[in-house]
Symmetry: C2
Subunit: 101 residues, 2 copies
C-alpha cells in the first residue's frame, strides 16, 4: 500500500466550496480508479488555506500511471483545480510503522 500526500494551497475564503468540490471529485472520479483504497482531507490549523490530501493506493503505479495517465486526471483537475493557488506538491510514502487501528 502506498500513501499519496498532496499539499494543496487554496484561495482565501473558498474553504467551503473547495471542500465540497473535493468530496465530489473523490466520489465521482478518484474512488472509481484502479487500486484506490481511501482518502482523508486535512485542513491546516495554523494555515487554514493549506490542506493535505492523503490518498491510499494499492501500488505507486495505480496513482502515477493508472490514474495520472488516464482521462480521469483531467476530470479530477477540472473539479478541484480552480481552487488551487498553485499546482499541489505531491509525494508518495510507504508505511514504516503504525499503531493498531
Amino acid at each position: 500500500m502506498v500513501l499519496e500526500v498532496a499539499e494543496i494551497q487554496i484561495r482565501a475564503g473558498e474553504q467551503q466550496a473547495f471542500e465540497a468540490a473535493l468530496s465530489r471529485g473523490v466520489q465521482t472520479v478518484i474512488s472509481q480508479s484502479k487500486g484506490y483504497r481511501g482518502y482523508r482531507l486535512e485542513r491546516g490549523i495554523e494555515s487554514p488555506q493549506r490542506y493535505l490530501l492523503l490518498i491510499e493506493w494499492d501500488t505507486l503505479e495505480n496513482h502515477t500511471v493508472d490514474f495520472r495517465q488516464s482521462p480521469s486526471f483531467a476530470q479530477w483537475r477540472a473539479i478541484v483545480g480552480p481552487y488551487f493557488v498553485e499546482p499541489p506538491r505531491v509525494e508518495h510514502f510507504e508505511q514504516a510503522s503504525a499503531s493498531p487501528r
Copy 2:
C-alpha cells in the same frame, strides 16, 4: 481530533535504526501522553531519508501543552532526535472529510 504532521529528514543509511527508535519512542513516551490516539510513520518513496510522522491527538493542546511542555518532550527527543538532520517541521490539521474506514 487533531492530526499532528511532522516532516522529518534523517541522515543517510540510518533508516532502520531511526525506525526502531521511533517505534520505541512512541511506545514508551508518546503513547503515555494525555490525549494520544494513534500514529503512523511514513517513509518517502521519492526521498527515502524523508519521513512523515502522523500523530492523532484529542485536542491541539494535548500536543502543544500537555506533551510539548512536559518532561516527556525531552525524553522523546533524546530517543529520536539523534537521527534528525534538522528540527522537524510540525503542523496541525483537522479533518475536513474522509472515506469511511
